[in-house]
């Protein structure tokens, strides 16, 4: 068996140990080994690289390595005008592109101090909520597939595709919409928008029980999710978690409720909170949130006011000297846009406080001490979108 020991030694000392990014040597015991997950691992859903220190099957340390898809969007925005930079932000969190555009448009409008017409406000909220459902549907399918359940993926994508078709009709794109611009929305709704959204809602309502039958009530699924990756409320706040990740731990952080924008303060919907803090709670938050989004769309779809869809703004926008911060609730949490303006046509500095970046930082904390197989459940329920983290 001596030969085997030699081979084992070789594997334990992969070259990554000499890497400047490698985890600290202290606490690295004789029986430990390092496993690289990613950057091309299917369960990371993007180019995320995790260096995992294992003792047997128990996780001792998880070290995320970022930067594989870093495009330096913040720096790029510094040379783009206030009309142009919004298009780049669709490429951050590409699953909720509408909401990214929304945050940027809000921030520019705040600087210009323009009011947008009621019709544009309603259209924006409708689009946001449709995006939220589409994003959560993709998450649901992908997460279930990571856990080994293949069927939910097809069910989730059936709904998601019909939303994407609606988006394609009105915005001309399925993922990178670029529909919300400073002053309102790019162009008016497609004539069949209302009818198609209604059809979608009918489809969704007739199918939503399938999720519960396939996943929520499934004992195998529950065993893999419950008490896995437990995050306490204090830690969620300390690590800056937002969105369903924090709400699964009972932290009330819905920007739509706390700092309402557009017409959210006039709408009836509940902030979904679960107190378990484990992966199952985070799962439940997202599933219940989709139903709240449906509730919002129901209130608005028959009440889209007539009028302009865009307020008149100058062709070249100039923000006054100063700082502007706007935040919205994306499907993943709180997205903040911080613009520092020097009075020019381009921002002097722009910072995107992306929800994924903070949510990822908690991964090591919740994964420590659990088994390697459970890491997939944790990563799945944190709902990481890598371009959003790398920016």
């Amino acid at each position: 068996m001596e030969g085997f020991g030699e081979v084992l030694k070789m594997y334990r000392k992969t070259e990554i140990i000499n890497d400047s990014k490698a985890p600290p040597a202290e606490g690295f015991g004789e029986a430990d080994m390092i496993i690289n997950v990613g950057p091309q691992h299917p369960a990371t859903h993007g180019v995320l690289h995790l260096v995992i220190t294992l003792n047997g099957e128990t996780i001792k340390n998880v070290e995320p390595h970022l930067g594989y898809i870093h495009r330096s969007i913040e720096k790029m925005c510094e040379s783009l005008s206030y009309r142009q930079f919004i298009y780049v932000t669709s490429r951050m969190d590409y699953l909720s592109a509408h909401i990214n555009n929304h945050a940027c448009a809000l921030c520019v409008e705040q600087g210009l101090q323009v009011e947008i017409p009621p019709r544009a406000q309603v259209i924006r909220v409708l689009m946001d909520e449709l995006t939220r459902i589409a994003s959560h549907e993709l998450w649901l399918g992908a997460m279930a597939m990571d856990l080994g359940a293949f069927t939910p993926f097809f069910h989730a994508f059936r709904e998601r595709e019909s939303i994407n078709d609606i988006m394609e009709e009105t915005c001309g794109a399925r993922l990178t919409m670029n529909y919300m611009v400073p002053g309102g929305v790019m162009h008016d709704l497609h004539p069949s928008f209302q009818q198609r959204v209604k059809d979608f809602m009918q489809l969704y309502k007739s199918k939503v029980h399938e999720y519960d039958e396939m996943l929520t009530g499934n004992i195998i699924f529950q065993n893999r999710m419950k008490n896995v990756g437990v995050l306490s409320a204090e830690d969620a706040i300390s690590y800056g978690c937002t969105g369903p990740t924090a709400r699964g731990s009972g932290v009330s952080c819905d920007v739509r409720k706390l700092y309402p924008y557009e017409i959210y303060n006039t709408l009836e919907f509940d902030e979904v909170l679960e107190t378990g803090g484990d992966s199952f709670s985070r799962y439940m938050v997202r599933v219940r949130e989709m139903q709240q989004s449906i509730r919002i769309i129901e209130q608005l779809i028959d009440n889209i006011p007539e009028g302009d869809f865009q307020t008149k703004t100058k062709a070249v926008l100039k923000l006054p000297k100063g700082e502007f911060y706007s935040r919205v609730e994306t499907a993943r949490g709180e997205l903040g846009v911080y613009i520092v303006s020097e009075g020019a046509t381009t921002p002097y500095r722009i910072k995107f406080r992306s929800p994924g970046f903070s949510n990822l930082s908690v991964l090591n904390h919740i994964a420590k001490g659990s088994k390697l197989g459970d890491l997939v459940a944790m990563m799945g329920t944190l709902d990481l979108v890598i371009p959003d983290i790398d920016r």
Binding site: G67, I237, G336, K351
Partner: protein, 156 residues
């Protein structure tokens, strides 16, 4: 607590800081300018003081003003829902400030990002290494205003 009360309270804790209303950011935002050397003690009080309870550091970033750097901390309280912005002016040649990663754990990642992008040295940071940039990246900090990349053009 109203904004006025908050301002008085902040002035009590740190008499040397300049406090101003940041009306353009939105109602209820207060900007506090602190000296880098006072930041750590001030941060601890912001977190611990029961009437303030700033437990959520939701944004941490840096601005390069060509003559100096400015660290910007956006804080809010999950109980009282009040917001403040804390700014600290740093020397551009040798920027250094105390870490707050033991007060707000989220700062650990955000400070690593600022460290590589702006070259700010966070004193007593538990794990100050490159996070996004590739291994062996030295010297130049990409988010500084004078950084030019001849290969990957990011400036139009």
């Amino acid at each position: 607590m109203t904004n006025e009360e908050l301002k008085i309270k902040l002035a009590e804790i740190l008499p040397t800081a300049t406090i101003e209303e940041a009306a353009e950011i939105g109602p209820g935002w207060i900007t506090v300018n602190v000296e880098p050397i006072e930041w750590l003690a001030f941060a601890q009080q912001l977190r611990k003081e029961e009437a303030l309870h700033f437990n959520f550091l939701f944004c941490l970033t840096c601005i390069d003003w060509k003559t100096h750097l400015t660290m910007v901390y956006h804080l809010r309280s999950t109980i009282f829902h009040h917001n403040i912005v804390v700014k600290a002016k740093l020397d551009r040649d040798k920027p250094a400030i105390e870490t707050v990663s033991h007060i707000w754990r989220t700062a650990e990642f955000h400070e690593r990002e600022v460290y590589e992008m702006f070259g700010v040295d966070f004193l007593n940071h538990p794990d100050l290494r490159l996070l996004i940039l590739p291994d062996g990246w030295e010297g130049k900090n990409p988010m500084r205003k004078d950084f030019e990349d001849p290969v990957n053009m990011i400036r139009l």
